[in-house]
C-alpha cells in the first residue's frame, strides 16, 4: 500500500522504557484543544495465572510499516493533528508500558475516537508477539489473525483492513 505517512507523526519500536509524558507533550500543537492517550501496560495476571513478566518481539520492518499505515489511515478518518504510536520490545516487568499512543486534535471527539481506533487496529494488524512468563512456565499469548486476502483472485477487490473490533484487554 502506498503510505501517506506524515513525518510529523511519531512511529517507533523501542527497547527501553517508553517516555510517555514526553510523547504526550510533543504531540500537541498550538491549534490543538485535546490530546487523548492510551497507555497499554503489563498486568500481573492472565487467564487466572500470576504473570511474572512479558517478552515482546516483532517483525520490525513490517511492524513499523503497518504502524505507519495506521497513522496514515487515522488522518484520513478523523479530524486530528498528530499521532504518536510507540511499542516497546524485549522484557517488560509488571506495570511497565508496552504501547503508548497519543493523538492530538482541535476537539476531543476526534482525539478519543482516533486513539481508540489506533490501538484496536494495532492489536489486529501489527506483527508483534507477546510471550507470557508465569511461575511455572511460559506461553505465547493467544493472538488475533490479521485480515489477509484469501486468494490472489480476491486481492484486487480491495480486501483491506476491516473495521476494528473492541480491544480484548
Amino acid at each position: 500500500m502506498a503510505s501517506r505517512y506524515n513525518p510529523v507523526d511519531r512511529v517507533e519500536l523501542i527497547r527501553q522504557p517508553i517516555p510517555n509524558a514526553a510523547i504526550a507533550r510533543d504531540v500537541r500543537g498550538d491549534g490543538d484543544g485535546a490530546v487523548a492517550t492510551f497507555d497499554g501496560c503489563v498486568r500481573n495476571h492472565s487467564h487466572g495465572r500470576a504473570t511474572r513478566f512479558l517478552e515482546y518481539e516483532a517483525y520490525d520492518e513490517m511492524a513499523l510499516a503497518k504502524m505507519r499505515d495506521i497513522a496514515a489511515e487515522l488522518h484520513g478518518r478523523f479530524a486530528i493533528d498528530r499521532i504518536a504510536m510507540v511499542h516497546r520490545l524485549g522484557r517488560l516487568e509488571i506495570g511497565e508500558t508496552s504501547v503508548f499512543i497519543a493523538v492530538s486534535a482541535a476537539h476531543r471527539d476526534a482525539a478519543f475516537d482516533a486513539c481508540r481506533y489506533a490501538i484496536d487496529t494495532l492489536k489486529k494488524t501489527v506483527p508483534i508477539w507477546k510471550k507470557e512468563h508465569f511461575a511455572d512456565g511460559a506461553v505465547w499469548a493467544d493472538g488475533e489473525m490479521p485480515p489477509v486476502p484469501k486468494s490472489t483472485a480476491s486481492e484486487e477487490s480491495g480486501a483491506e483492513t476491516p473495521a476494528a473490533k473492541p480491544a480484548s484487554n
Partner: protein, 81 residues
C-alpha cells in the same frame, strides 16, 4: 530461485530457526514454500491453519506466486499491545 523465509513467535520455536534461505522451482507459490519448510517439521505443519503469510512485508494470500529474492514471513496470530 532463492527466497528468504522468516519465522516469528511460537513458529520460530517450532521451526528451530528465525531465518533461512530456500531454493524453489520457478512458479512456486507461498503454500509450496510452506510445504517445503514444514516437510521435516510435523509440528509446524499442524500449526499451518493458525498462520498468515507476508510477502515483502505485506500480508499475502497463500496462493501468491513467488519471485526470486522475495522475503516471506510466516506469522502466528499477532498479540501486540
Amino acid at each position: 530461485m532463492l527466497v528468504k523465509v522468516l519465522y516469528f513467535g511460537k513458529l520460530k520455536e517450532l521451526s528451530g530457526s528465525a531465518e533461512e534461505s530456500v531454493e524453489l522451482r520457478d512458479g512456486a507459490r507461498i503454500e509450496d514454500l510452506f510445504a517445503v519448510c514444514a516437510e521435516a517439521r510435523p509440528e509446524m505443519r499442524e500449526f499451518r491453519r493458525s498462520l498468515v503469510a507476508a510477502r515483502n512485508r505485506e500480508f499475502a494470500a497463500w496462493d501468491t506466486a513467488l519471485q526470486a529474492g522475495d522475503e516471506i514471513g510466516f506469522l502466528p496470530p499477532v498479540s501486540g499491545g
